[in-house]
């Protein structure tokens, strides 16, 4: 059974149709790559799943239960957690407190020493052991991304939404980042990956959905979709197809 499914999802901003009768299914333990050119509606789709934006039409289900229409906090509590395209941390708090926030209020809720232990374990997992006492302003760019990932993981979500988590990293950091997400995948987590980095899509995702102008133009394994003529046309234009 699919854990998350989008059916006939549509989002209009006034006259602009950002997502048009779009849908896909995500199985448990699967990494789904959501790709497409800029402005194709990937981030909007993620915002619809997390509840940041209301749907115009269609339905989103988590384990067969409709979640579209719920506010973001309820969706987070039911087990869908996300990172943001532009990293969002809690500036007045330490690294550890940032991650505790996820452990205290996420899908699986903890408090006190238990939340702290969970947060420390998540910092270890993302490679920030011993940095819990730092202020977020003291971190390098990739470390801020790690903190956000640790915060999201700390709530034990059922589905993880990563919005261009690898964007903006330098080549060395990118390899580290890909290894980190592969480790999450090997743990059997269910992940939706919105990404521009094709290497990452190729090596990390089990299935790929390609969007263009708010609609699905291809779906399949990364190899299949990246060779699909419609996909090449969407990215490069007609002459190269």
């Amino acid at each position: 059974m699919s854990i998350l499914s989008l059916r006939n999802v549509t989002k209009r901003f006034g006259g602009l149709v950002a997502v048009n009768d779009f849908g896909f299914e995500v199985e448990e333990h699967m990494v789904l790559g959501l790709i497409g050119p800029n402005g194709s509606g990937k981030s909007t789709t993620l915002n619809l799943i997390s509840g940041a934006l209301p749907l115009t039409d269609g339905q989103i289900m988590l384990e067969g239960r409709p979640i579209s229409g719920l506010p973001p906090q309820d969706i987070a509590r039911l087990g869908v957690a996300r990172t943001f395209q532009l990293v969002r941390l809690l500036p007045s708090m330490t690294v550890l407190e940032n991650v505790i926030a996820g452990a205290v209020f996420g899908h699986r809720r903890r408090w006190g020493p238990e939340a702290r232990a969970k947060a420390e374990a998540m910092l270890d997992k993302v490679g920030l052991s011993g940095k819990g006492g730092l202020r977020v302003g003291q971190l390098t760019y990739i470390d801020t991304k790690r903190v956000e990932l640790a915060r999201v993981l700390a709530g034990d979500p059922k589905v993880l939404l990563l919005d261009e988590w690898l964007a903006g990293l330098n080549p060395t950091e990118l390899q580290t980042g890909i290894r980190l997400i592969r480790a999450l995948r090997d743990e059997g987590r269910t992940i939706i990956l919105v990404e521009h980095v094709m290497d990452a899509i190729r090596s990390l995702s089990d299935r790929c959905v390609v969007m263009a102008s708010g609609a699905r133009i291809a779906e399949g394994t990364p190899k299949e979709v990246l060779e699909h003529p419609d996909v090449i046309r969407a990215y490069l234009g007609d002459d190269d197809a």
Binding site: S50, P71, P72, Q73, A76, L89, S92, A101, V104, G112
Partner: protein, 312 residues
């Protein structure tokens, strides 16, 4: 679970309040009246900072809740015991704050500030209208506490309220609600996506200063003897509370106290010597906060301590 530092903090706070409670035995005149002012502003500014400190929502509604509290006492002191009126006022104030919170906490920034300022005016106009309908101008509050003077009873009541506010603030600071409010203050979007019901958290905590300000108003009503809307709902009170809390520092539980003491003393001196220049002090203090002390005296102390620690 309490650590030894927690027990020490509570013990120090209890002793400090105990020492303050001796003031009426030393002086029944000028210093007791200053003590009442300081205790009143400590209660109001500290409870104000419980909500506005972490969320950065500047509320100017203190006078609305305070005024309602004075009218609870003014309307019912002849038939109900003074000691029952305090919790009753707190309930009325808390409920009103809850309703106001539900309606306005979705507003952000300046809209919230303006609405809370307007709220005091709205309640004042409603009460003025109601009194005109019944042919009253104001209400007498004539309470007698036997062998104890009104002033010292009010003082002790306010100290008790201060103890409750500090205890509540300390408990909230260690609770999930307090943690949620800090997250909301940092980034409301992150808070929502982390699973926090931000609207509920904000409304719940906004009820605390509402309840406390109403109880404070109820406690102070006997001091005024004659209450009328213009006095009970004076917007000046709201501004004083905000300035004192920010001057001390709204980020720490003890911060507002550090602002209340010097400000109240200075206010007394200025209103005694230059009675028309008190608003000048309010304005000057506001400029100092904006340009020199954005995090209040607390921020200044913490910076000095960090520098001393870094140099050692």
């Amino acid at each position: 679970m309490m650590s030894t530092t927690d027990i020490r903090t509570i013990a120090i706070a209890a002793v400090a309040i105990g020492v303050c409670a001796l003031l009426p035995l030393v002086d029944q005149g000028y210093w007791l009246s200053i003590g009442v002012s300081i205790a009143m502003f400590t209660v109001l500014a500290t409870s104000w900072a419980l909500f506005s400190g972490p969320t950065h929502y500047i509320s100017l509604a203190t006078a609305a809740f305070f005024g309602i509290g004075t009218y609870v006492t003014g309307s019912f002191y002849e038939s109900v015991s003074f000691w029952l009126l305090l919790p009753a006022a707190a309930i009325v104030g808390g409920l009103l704050a809850g309703i106001v919170g539900l309606a306005t906490l979705r507003l952000s920034g300046v809209y919230f500030v303006i609405f809370t300022l307007g709220l005091a005016e709205l309640v004042r106009q409603v009460i003025t209208w109601a009194q005109n309908m019944t042919g009253h101008r104001g209400t007498y509050v004539l309470l007698d506490f036997g062998s104890r003077s009104v002033e010292e009873v009010i003082y002790w009541t306010l100290l008790g309220l201060a103890a409750i506010v500090y205890l509540a603030g300390w408990l909230i600071g260690r609770s999930r609600l307090g943690f949620a409010l800090r997250i909301i203050g940092d980034d409301e979007e992150v808070a929502r996506h982390s699973g926090i019901n931000t609207a509920r958290a904000k409304v719940l905590l906004f009820m605390v200063p509402g309840a406390v300000a109403a109880a404070t108003g109820a406690a102070l009503a006997p001091r005024y003897v004659y209450i009328e809307p213009a006095l009970a709902f004076t917007p000046l009170l709201s501004f004083q509370v905000v300035i004192m809390a920010l001057l001390g520092g709204a980020g720490r539980l003890w911060g507002p106290l550090v602002g209340v003491i010097p400000f109240t003393l200075l206010w007394e001196v200025i209103s005694a010597t230059f009675p028309n220049q008190t608003t000048l002090l309010l304005g000057a203090a506001f400029l100092v906060i904006v340009y020199v002390l954005p995090r209040g005296f607390v921020g200044l102390l913490e910076r000095a301590r960090a520098r001393a620690g870094g140099g050692a």
